[in-house]
């Protein structure tokens, strides 16, 4: 098992390196000079040259690339061009907020979405199925910032159940929870829509399979057929979607963090983009790509748990 995990992680390494390479060259080729951004456009040529030298920008592109890769491989993401703090430090400050947000959303999405999808499939073409499908289509239609604004408007501004600005005091669990609630519900409900749809259609496919009929022919009660025989098979596509959904979740969390003015990677990246903080951007992209590689790994491991055919390959 451990060798399998290590092997899968190693498979992710080339992807990670490729992502880094793309980001590096893209950021360098893009118009705009970081030295201008640091010093402003009134700066003297000498000052600009000095800054460029400090940043290594006067080196040939390939030398810069080699330096950059060496640094990243050492685990060093450099310092922010704007705040001059270490990128790791800046990220570490807000990462827990983003992780707690996305994990809560992931939990809401799966815990609600899966049973809803199963229920809709079992009650196919009955009212509850139509209602669930309608609501999930509606959920899919919400850009995350639109639903975030509507939630904010309804529950924070009108009803005043939650704070308008989620600036939680980190060491007060209640305040942290109430700051987390609306953003997590926002991300989670959108995910419920995705998971429910996949769970439903996958479950419908599985319920028509021959082995379900076999199970019923053995006299296994209908409910047990669904949970023991159908669900595990239906989970396979659901796992895929949940794994792929991380990319959407990251994007949605950026938007949600902006609307709720919540600390997190989202605000960090938007600031970095506005200020052309190249090192910060590169660092964040490394972290995002790393998340995706980890998510792919977890997805594969889950396959192995759900489907014996994967394990024996």
């Amino acid at each position: 098992m451990l060798t399998y995990i290590v092997k899968r992680l190693l498979v992710g390494v080339p992807t990670l390196l490729a992502v880094l390479t793309v980001v590096f060259f893209f950021v360098r080729i893009a118009p705009g000079d970081p030295a201008f951004i640091i010093l402003g456009d009134q700066a003297s040529p000498q000052a600009l040259a000095a800054v460029r030298h400090d940043l290594g920008l006067d080196q040939p592109m390939l030398a810069q690339y080699a330096d950059f890769m060496a640094m990243v491989l050492r685990g060093d993401l450099g310092n922010s061009l704007v705040t001059h703090q270490s990128v790791w430090g800046e990220v570490a400050k807000v990462l827990p907020y983003t992780i707690e947000l996305t994990l809560t959303a992931l939990a809401i999405g799966t815990v609600l979405g899966l049973p809803l999808g199963v229920l809709a499939a079992r009650r196919r073409n009955e009212f509850i199925d139509y209602a669930a499908r309608f609501l999930s289509l509606l959920g899919l239609s919400f850009p995350a910032f639109v639903s975030a604004i509507l939630l904010l408007l309804a529950f924070a501004i009108e009803l005043r159940w939650f704070p308008v600005i989620s600036e939680a005091r980190a060491n007060d669990p209640m305040s942290r929870l109430s700051a987390l609630a609306l953003p997590a519900v926002n991300l989670g409900l959108i995910m419920v829509a995705y998971v429910m749809r996949v769970a439903r259609s996958s479950m419908l496919g599985v319920l028509g399979e021959d082995y379900i009929r076999t199970a019923r022919s053995k006299g296994v009660p209908a409910g047990i057929v669904v949970w023991r025989h159908a669900l595990r098979n239906a989970l396979i596509p659901v796992v895929t979607v949940v794994g792929l959904y991380l990319g959407v979740l990251i994007g949605n969390s950026v938007l949600t963090e902006i609307v709720f003015n919540r600390p997190g990677l989202g605000k960090l990246i938007v600031n970095a983009l506005n200020q052309r903080d190249y090192t910060m951007l590169e660092g964040l992209m490394v972290i995002y790509a790393f998340f995706i590689v980890i998510a792919n790994l977890l997805t594969d491991l889950t396959y192995g748990m759900v489907d014996p055919r994967v394990k024996h390959q």
């Binding site: 199970a215 022919s217 006299g219 296994v220 098979n233 489907d307 014996p308 024996h312």
Partner: protein, 336 residues
């Protein structure tokens, strides 16, 4: 020697009609089907695909898909109890207990994510009081019984680790688990290689001889029928068109459809895919003719055949040989 009239009935199907809904209207896929199955007897249901033989079996099991199908009329009597009148919960007790079924596709009929030992033992869970470990021991016994090599070592393996023939053996073990009185085998060998087919058929025959169970054997392969069945019911477009003891049927096919089927077997070991096609087509379920359903393709067609549906009636000289034909089994009308 087939009839042994003293034997009790294992299963008695009377007037079974099963319908499917197509574009909002219900059409019968199985129409007024009746037959009796004696203890230790194998009845073959024979016909082209779509003739209603599998639907007949699913109707007996109460497994007709509810979304668009229903058993509209008839009785299925097991020990005097009408299975069609039972609730779903009561039927769950019967399924896999007194009646078990073996399906056509061994490759897809086992659950890919559960070990085969578990899938065999599961049937015992709902029909016996065996403990978990007793059920497991019995599952191993069953797997050995159906001749799975090194069953003890393979009991925790998953279906994908078995060949088609081995999977069908597992299916048979599942069906046998609770000592059923009736087994419905729906084309159990069709998906298998010819040599494996012979092995599985031999196994079924052996098990039947040992346990005295009754079997409905569904197939479109007349060669298989000859080797396994005691009696044969030929189905066409939802009707039983001929019913007779197996030797009698092969000697004296009476319904023109049976005749055409037999005439079109080139060799016993060939599959139906090689059969010479009978001219014309089976009428679609949504447009069944008023009279005899075979009339369109029948060389013996008379005016009466297209107007009135013939009953399944005994031949004049044999009370155990039935045919649904105005011309050949004319007990009504002119013959009288």
């Amino acid at each position: 020697m087939s009839d042994a009239s003293g034997r009790e009935l294992a299963l008695d199907v009377r007037g079974l009609t099963t319908e499917f809904r197509i574009n909002g209207r219900w059409y019968p896929a199985v129409r007024d089907v009746s037959f009796a199955l004696k203890r230790n007897e194998t009845l073959a249901l024979v016909g082209e695909s779509g003739c209603g033989k599998s639907i007949t079996a699913l109707s007996i099991m109460g497994l007709v898909p509810k979304a668009n199908g229903r058993v509209a009329a008839g009785q299925v009597l097991l020990d005097g109890r009408n299975l069609l009148a039972l609730s779903e919960q009561q039927m769950e007790k019967i399924r896999g207990g007194a009646i078990a079924m073996i399906f056509q596709e061994p490759m897809t009929s086992l659950n890919p994510v559960l070990p085969i030992g578990f899938q065999v033992a599961e049937a015992l869970r709902y029909h016996t009081d065996l403990s978990e470990s007793e059920a497991k021991a019995r599952a191993l016994e069953l797997l050995q019984h159906v001749k799975i090599p090194s069953a003890a070592r393979r009991i925790a393996d998953y279906p994908h680790q078995f060949s088609g023939g081995m999977r069908q053996r597992v299916m048979i073990a599942i069906a046998l688990a609770c000592n059923p009185r009736v087994i419905l085998a729906d084309e159990p060998t069709t998906a298998l290689d010819v040599t494996i087919q012979a092995q599985v058929l031999a196994l079924l025959a052996e098990l039947k001889a040992e346990t005295g169970l009754a079997m409905i054997f569904i197939t479109h392969n007349l060669g298989v029928v000859a080797s396994i069945a005691d009696r044969v019911a030929v189905m066409y477009a939802g009707d039983i068109v001929e019913l007779a003891e197996v030797g009698e049927l092969f000697r004296r096919p009476t319904h023109p459809y049976t005749e055409a089927l037999l005439a079109s077997i080139p060799r016993v070991d060939r599959d139906a895919g090689d059969l010479k096609p009978i001219p014309g087509q089976v009428p679609p379920i949504t447009a069944m003719p008023a009279g005899c359903r075979y009339a369109d393709r029948c060389p013996l067609r008379e005016p009466r055949c297209t107007q009135e549906s013939p009953p399944l009636s005994p031949l004049a000289d044999s009370a155990e040989h039935f045919a649904r034909c105005w011309v050949r089994a004319g007990t009504g009308g002119s013959a009288a």
